[in-house]
């Protein structure tokens, strides 16, 4: 991993220096990493800084993986750009009067990428697989909570029976991808299933994957001519991973790539000014946070977090010594809003976000005082300690991000002023996943989440039983009361009642501080509008399935 990183950095640096000196031409060296595609302009090249951790939906963790799943797999229903749910595999559906039996009728002419016809049985199998092996399908098991039976009464019908009326059923179904049963049937243990990399996924989606090469960071998707709703206009989508945002931005400028799926805030104004490029900002559903090790001592393996982090006073001091406005001004160049709870204010038009939470005002003096009052005394080197426990923390972050190194640097500086020594360390996302979920080998981590349109998912990342390898919880928050409220909100059919429960859950997480939410960031993208047009500008992103379906080259 490390050598690849160097190699890339050197290559991109070289390309960058050359392009800075001698105009655009040499920068094509970056793009030649991607296999030469037809010069036909219906190939859309997208640059991003990350890549899927795996193509196996059973335990994919990173947003990039879900971006790809949405293109190659189809669920029964899917979210459209205005936040409504429309049929993907399903033509129509109905719920019984008690809300506990859902019947879906499949569209005609559904085919897998290998040409076989899709049957209702296979769709039911894919959902059943998650229900029968929730440990193996850790990433998706949260979406089938409360399902009791999934059957296929005939070739065209899928029926789902639930234990109680589920308020957000369609949202949940939008993540239950129909995976190709022969690919997934053979695994007997959760470990086998999770070790499966699914490099040649077969789906029913609008695109089919032809190449995913982690070494070169190239992921190629071909249009699926047999797609049930008609093939997309563009013929191919290539995702190219970049290790440097500067190199990526230069590649957009000179036209080596056509779309940036995530423009670094620090360059947004510059990108806006490029000729032939349109930059768009959406109110996003994502936030970045400081994760505090909250893993229970009983966990196996035992967490290695500094025990002082369990002290609420230390957590409060960590939040008080953090200048959120500075972080937004510096890291996001002002393109974001200060964070507080794990439910972003954009979900449901603001309906789910608890507005009553007040974050402490930034004050170095107050933060020092909090630690002083809690009995942490400064040692000779300026680092506070109590009962032999020094306030010395690892501060890890994902190196793929262009924002996190700077956040780490700012936090470490503020914390040093209150007698806390935080040592920043950039690691790659695979290492970070391995150190957090289910393990707890960290002190502080800077990371981020993209929330679903419904608050259900983002609330589930704090569940006790999600703290397993392949699960969603990285902080290791464990609170039985919270777990119960989570089940209650799922069963609450009345919207106001559900809101009240969700407000309470946000209060709990905020006050216990397994996370300190730094900010809600805007979603920044850019594309070469002199080459492609007709994207849908929505919070789902320009490279969302529906948007890519109608995107077309400029003639």
């Amino acid at each position: 991993m490390k050598t690849r990183y160097t190699f890339f950095a050197v290559v991109t640096l070289l390309a960058l220096v050359l392009s800075a000196c001698g105009g655009g031409a040499p920068a094509t060296q970056v793009a030649t990493e991607a296999p030469a595609a037809d010069s036909g302009s219906s190939v859309l090249k997208i640059g991003w800084l990350g890549e899927p951790d795996t193509l196996n939906p059973a335990y994919a963790f990173l947003t990039e993986a879900y971006t790809v799943f949405d293109l190659i797999y189809s669920p029964l229903v899917t979210e459209d750009s205005s936040g409504n749910y429309v049929g993907a595999l399903a033509k129509e559906w109905s719920a019984s009067g008690d809300g506990m039996t859902w019947t879906f009728t499949l569209k005609d002419g559904l085919k897998w990428h290998n040409g076989e016809a899709l049957t209702a049985n296979q769709v039911a199998w894919a959902i059943n697989a998650i229900m029968t092996d929730p440990d193996g399908w850790a990433a998706l098991s949260g979406y089938v909570g409360g399902f009791s039976e999934v059957t296929a009464p005939d070739e065209k019908t899928v029926q789902i029976v639930t234990e109680y009326p589920i308020a957000n059923m369609k949202y949940r179904l939008s993540f239950l991808y129909a995976v190709y049963p022969p690919d997934f049937e053979s695994f007997t243990t959760p470990e086998d299933l999770q070790n499966f990399t699914n490099d040649k996924p077969i789906g029913t989606g609008r695109f089919k994957l032809t190449t995913f090469d982690k070494d070169t960071g190239v992921l190629i998707l071909d249009a699926n001519p047999e797609y049930v709703d008609g093939a997309p206009i563009i013929s191919q989508v290539i995702y190219q991973k970049f290790d440097s945002s500067d190199a990526m931005i230069q590649a957009l400028k000179v036209g080596d790539i056509d779309l940036l799926s995530d423009v670094p805030a620090s360059a947004f104004e510059t990108v806006k000014g490029f000729e032939g490029v349109t930059a768009v900002a959406f109110e996003g559903r994502s936030f970045d946070e400081l994760i505090i090790n909250d893993v229970s001592e009983d966990n196996d393996p035992a967490p290695t977090g500094n025990p002082a982090l369990k002290d609420p006073a230390v957590r409060l001091a960590l939040e008080t010594a953090m200048n959120r406005q500075d972080i937004i001004d510096i890291v996001l160049q002002g393109l974001g809003t200060p964070g507080d709870t794990i439910v972003p204010p954009t979900l449901g038009g603001g309906f789910w976000h608890n507005p009553n939470i007040k974050t402490p005002e930034f004050s170095i003096e107050k933060a020092s005082q909090i630690l002083e009052d809690a009995g942490y005394v400064k040692g000779a080197d300026g680092v506070r300690e109590k009962d032999g426990v020094r306030l010395e923390f690892r501060l890890q972050f994902d190196v793929d991000s262009s924002n996190y190194p700077r956040i780490a640097d700012l936090l470490a500086d503020w914390y040093s002023q209150i007698g806390i020594k935080a040592t920043p360390e950039g690691v790659n996302s695979d290492t970070l996943i391995a150190a957090t979920t289910g393990v707890g080998d960290f002190d502080l981590v800077i990371w981020g989440w993209g929330a679903d349109p419904d608050p259900d998912f983002i609330l589930s990342i704090m569940l006790t039983d999600q703290f397993v390898i392949g699960g969603w919880s990285d902080a290791g928050y464990h609170n039985p009361e919270y777990d119960q409220l989570y089940l209650d909100q799922q069963a609450a059919v009345n919207k106001d009642e559900r809101q009240e429960i969700i407000y309470k859950m946000q209060d709990m997480v905020y006050n216990d501080r397994p996370y300190i939410v730094l900010y809600y960031s805007n979603y920044l993208q850019a594309y070469r509008s002199d080459r492609f047009t007709n994207f849908i500008e929505s919070p789902l992103g320009l490279d969302d399935d529906a948007s890519l379906a109608q995107a077309k080259p400029v003639q």
């Binding site: 440097s244 500067d246 230069q250 360059a267 500075d326 510096i330 640097d409």
Partner: protein
């Protein structure tokens, strides 16, 4: 001892006489001297702490401000004063470079002398280790080492890790050079005589071999300094420095991460680059000239007739 001291002073005077006529050497010395002075007097050269956030009238961070708007070199993406980062960064870059350079010099000389003087199995062993280290690509090996050591969570500062890793990997060329020189010296008559009257190994190495090698070691150390500083910058650029103590490499790392080039913020990425160039060019110029002047074999070719320069020959005739 006093005779030795006098000899040394005389050699030094002679050396300076030759050195000051060499323009390249003087230029190199000047570049290095300026960098060292900047590092020593850093706090006097700037009004800001490198981690201060410069603020505008509304008390918001002033990011990517060009030099016209703020200070000598503007601000970086975090509103830090670039000039003060550069000035304080020189301390980190030079300290890491110098310490690593000295470790490399010490290890390389000790092993080179041991290999050359004792020969036989010791020589073979040391030289094979050297060969192995020479064929492994340095940068990937160092990346892996630094990353691994840091993950072991020993309570050492990231800078110390950098120093030790660079120091312990960059002694190979010194060792080879010193070994070959030791081989020729130990065959000389004065060594044979010393041995004949019963002098021990330690005595011979200390009194007869080391003084002969000293000029070579000095020249070589200066050259290694430039390599060490470049390597430190490289590793810091790749994110393996200590972000809380920014060196020039760390500045470049941030410039690269934070789209300084896309933003056209030349005041952010050019100065650290020029500073690295400044110091390593200085070390290389100085080192090459020193080597030329002090290395007896090169001296015979290039400095023929320069009577003042035959310091080594002098010592030898007295020995």
């Amino acid at each position: 001892m006093s005779e030795n001291g006098n000899l040394f002073l005389r050699n030094l005077a002679g050396f300076w006489k030759t050195f000051r006529q060499n323009k390249l050497g003087l230029a190199g010395g000047f570049l290095v001297l300026v960098a060292v002075l900047v590092a020593v007097f850093a706090p006097a050269l700037t009004d800001y702490d490198p981690s201060d956030i410069i603020r505008d009238a509304n008390n918001r961070a002033l990011t990517f401000a060009p030099p016209e708007v703020h200070g000598i070199l503007g601000t970086d993406d975090a509103g830090h004063d670039v000039w003060s980062q550069l000035v304080f960064g020189s301390r980190i870059s030079l300290v890491v470079g110098f310490m690593a350079g000295f470790i490399a010099m010490f290890v390389g000389s000790a092993l080179g002398i041991a290999a050359g003087y004792f020969g036989g199995a010791i020589d073979s062993l040391i030289m094979r280790i050297t060969d192995v280290l020479l064929v492994i690509p340095d940068l990937p090996l160092m990346l892996v080492l630094v990353a691994t050591i840091r993950q072991m969570e020993l309570k050492i500062s990231p800078l110390a890790v950098l120093i030790v890793v660079i120091g312990l990997l960059y002694w190979t060329s010194t060792a080879r050079l010193i070994r070959s020189q030791t081989l020729t010296i130990k065959e000389r008559q004065f060594v044979a005589r010393a041995r004949a009257i019963g002098a021990g190994h330690w005595h011979i190495i200390r009194k007869h071999i080391l003084p002969q090698l000293m000029p070579l070691i000095v020249a070589n150390t200066v050259l290694i300094l430039s390599t060490a500083i470049l390597i430190e910058s490289g590793l810091a650029f790749l994110g393996l420095g200590d972000p809380t103590k920014p060196s020039w490499g760390t500045m470049l790392n941030f410039a690269f991460d934070r789209s300084a080039i896309s933003n056209g913020a030349w005041w952010f990425y050019l100065p650290p680059g020029i500073a690295i160039l400044w110091v390593s060019l200085g070390c290389i110029l100085l080192g090459n000239v020193l080597e030329e002047m002090l290395n007896p074999r090169l001296a015979a070719h290039h400095l023929e007739g320069e009577a003042g320069m035959i310091a080594i020959a002098d010592v030898e005739s007295k020995g």
